[in-house]
């Protein structure tokens, strides 16, 4: 009697389009990212050989991104650097969202804790990110660990805010109140009621931290506080390139930076599209 399919099937083509398009974008982005990481694993830093016969060559089919002043292939170095960036970005954003989840949960216990968490967020937002990362990195003696922790400890704020607001709303709902009356523990309520409802936000939030994390890692490394100069990180490559800009070796800076930009952009796009799939209201606009 009721025929729900009738209205749905009115325009099958456009239905396929948006859904498939979104899934396709997500799939493609993930594929590219995974490919880069895998490739970078197979590139041994020592294998990026110096070859003084081919120093400072502009881009060619043989060397897509050109070669540097030691005759190293810039494409290989860039891929290796990107792989490194993605790994550090992944660690930092996972750590970041773990911090966000813990703090949001602490904040949900009672009003006092909530105020404290809100204040803590304010505290971390009051120092410019880059300065705080530098401070943390210095305190840990620099290196990959320093920069990862530094980035992780500065990027949890926005997800914490989102989760806090969400949890606040869930806490006022009837089923949570009912569970409280039945004497269920905070942890039980968090696991059974809250987590399933905020998992979308957590996933999207973590993915959206990623691009910022990568960019900040590169920035801090560029300034000289992050990865050591021996690592082929994008920040290092770009910092080195500055010495050769005046001599016209434009490819040294252009391609590695562009590659980083594309990675950041891909993460952003993937994040937005996953958000669309999980939360349809944003697609209705």
């Amino acid at each position: 009697m009721v025929n729900p399919n009738k209205n749905k099937s009115l325009n099958p083509l456009s239905k396929i389009n948006l859904r498939t398009k979104t899934l396709l974008i997500i799939g493609l982005t993930i594929l590219i990212l995974v490919l880069i990481v895998i490739c970078s694993f197979f590139i041994d830093s020592k294998e990026i050989t110096t070859n003084f016969l081919i120093i400072n060559q502009p881009p060619s089919f043989e060397h897509l991104f050109g070669t540097d002043w030691l005759g190293r292939d810039m494409f290989t170095r860039t891929i290796k650097g990107l792989g490194l960036s993605i790994q550090i970005g992944a660690c930092a954003s996972l750590l970041s969202s773990a911090i966000a989840i813990v703090l949001a949960f602490i904040g949900s216990i009672n009003q006092k804790f909530d105020t404290f968490v809100a204040w803590f967020v304010d505290l971390f937002l009051s120092i410019p990110h880059i300065l705080l990362i530098i401070l943390i990195s210095i305190s840990l003696g620099g290196g990959a660990l320093g920069v990862t922790i530094g980035v992780a400890f500065t990027h949890w704020t926005s997800l914490t805010r989102v989760l806090r607001a969400e949890i606040k709303q869930i806490n006022t709902s009837d089923f949570v109140k009912l569970s409280e009356r039945f004497g269920k523990s905070r942890l039980w309520i968090a696991k059974e009621h809250i987590l399933p409802l905020v998992i979308t936000q957590i996933i999207v939030g973590t993915i959206l931290i990623f691009p910022h994390a990568i960019m900040h890692e590169a920035s801090v490394t560029f300034l000289g506080f992050g990865l050591s100069p021996h690592e082929p990180a994008i920040g290092i490559i770009l910092a080195e390139s500055m010495k050769y800009l005046a001599t016209g070796n434009w490819w040294l800076a252009l391609f590695p930076g562009l590659a980083l930009l594309i990675i950041v952009l891909l993460f952003d796009i993937a994040g937005e599209n996953i958000k669309k799939i999980l939360d349809p209201t944003s697609a209705n606009d």
């Binding site: 304010d122 505290l123 937002l125 009051s126 120092i127 410019p128 990110h129 880059i130 300065l131 530098i134 401070l135 943390i136 210095i138 305190s139 840990l140 003696g141 691009p211 960019m215 590169a218 920035s219 560029f222 300034l223 000289g224 506080f225 770009l238 390139s241 500055m242 800009l245 005046a246 016209g248 434009w250 800076a253 252009l254 930076g257 980083l260 930009l261 594309i262 950041v264 952009l265 952003d268 606009d285």
Partner: protein, 330 residues
């Protein structure tokens, strides 16, 4: 009368909050630096020739070998007296270094802040007004790309184009660290300002333009906007009368909330263009273990960010007629 009283009360509350905040910022950064393997005295000594008395004075200032609490209390005491210590690399009081460097950075930051704000707002309004057209798409793509671009890379590209390729500016823009701004003529200084400013401006455009666009589209879907349409208003005049009126305040608020990002951008841009500002000083201080200077910069950047937030709060709470009057009545 009522309003002024309320504003004062508001500011008083904010001041107290600020004092608490800054104490914790100091505590946090002090703790972080104390954790680090840096020994300020040792680095200082290794960098230059100093006499025994100087080392003793330094050790006394830093309280080497004393527990962290004593060190902190000492240092806090000095701060309250306006003494942030002596910069190890500039060899002058931190306060003076910051004064000079921060002025240079403020000019850079505020000009690009203003530029990017105005340009971003205009682009955002155009994009929102022409939603889903080519113009909108171009603006959107531009913003997305710039948002994903590392600031220092954009700076490098601009340096390459304008200094190396076009040759309009010398590639070595900087002056040696420690040179005072008085030693540089106004024209030289202006020349050094332009490229960093352009870089910061075109990067800053992205967030404000996207925000303005979304906000305008939101307003264009509101009931009051529809009603104005139904009453025969249309086109650009409609946007001007009802659109811009309703998005200007949020946009200004957002722009003030962006002081933290602005500062971050400045640090990177100054480094690329060797612009003698606070950002460059911060990087030098960090790299060369100039602890007093680094801590001083953290404090002053916190004040900078906080004042941005404060102005945003004031704009939000005291300019909007709804909230202004609404609270009076309640």
């Amino acid at each position: 009368m009522m309003k002024n009283e309320k504003l004062l009360k508001f500011l008083g509350k904010k001041l107290i909050r600020f004092i608490i905040l800054i104490i914790f910022v100091i505590l946090l950064s002090f703790l972080l630096i104390d954790l680090s393997p840096i020994n300020p005295v040792k680095t200082y000594v290794s960098n230059m020739i100093v006499s025994q008395e100087q080392i003793a004075a330094l050790e006394a200032y830093w309280g080497v070998n004393q527990p962290i609490t004593t060190k902190l209390v000492n240092w806090l005491g000095n701060i309250i007296h306006g003494d942030l210590g002596t910069s190890l690399i500039f060899r002058m009081p931190v306060v003076d270094v910051i004064k000079e460097r921060f002025t240079a950075s403020l000019i850079l930051m505020l000009t690009s802040w203003l530029f990017s704000g105005i340009l971003g707002f205009i682009l955002g309004v155009i994009a929102g007004f022409k939603k889903d057209t080519i113009i909108d798409k171009v603006i959107k793509v531009y913003c997305y790309i710039l948002q994903s671009a590392p600031t220092f890379w954009i700076a490098l590209i601009i340096l390459m184009i304008f200094a190396v390729y076009l040759g309009w500016f010398p590639t070595g823009l900087g002056v040696p660290i420690g040179t005072l701004s008085e030693d540089v003529s106004f024209l030289d200084w202006l020349k050094r300002l332009i490229l960093p400013m352009i870089t910061l401006s075109i990067i800053g455009v992205a967030s404000i333009a996207l925000f303005t666009r979304d906000k305008l589209i939101e307003v264009m879907n509101t009931d009051y906007f529809l009603f104005s349409k139904a009453r025969g208003e249309s086109g650009w005049n409609l946007i001007k009368r009802h659109g811009i009126r309703n998005i200007l305040l949020p946009a200004i608020t957002l722009q003030f909330l962006g002081f933290s990002e602005l500062f971050g951008g400045t640090v990177l841009v100054e480094q690329v263009f060797t612009y003698p500002g606070i950002g460059q000083a911060a990087v030098s201080a960090g790299l060369r273990s100039d602890v007093p200077l680094l801590l001083g910069i953290v404090i002053c950047s916190t004040i900078f960010v906080y004042s941005g937030n404060l102005i945003a709060d004031i704009v939000y709470n005291f300019v909007d007629p709804r909230i202004k009057e609404g609270e009076d009545n309640g």
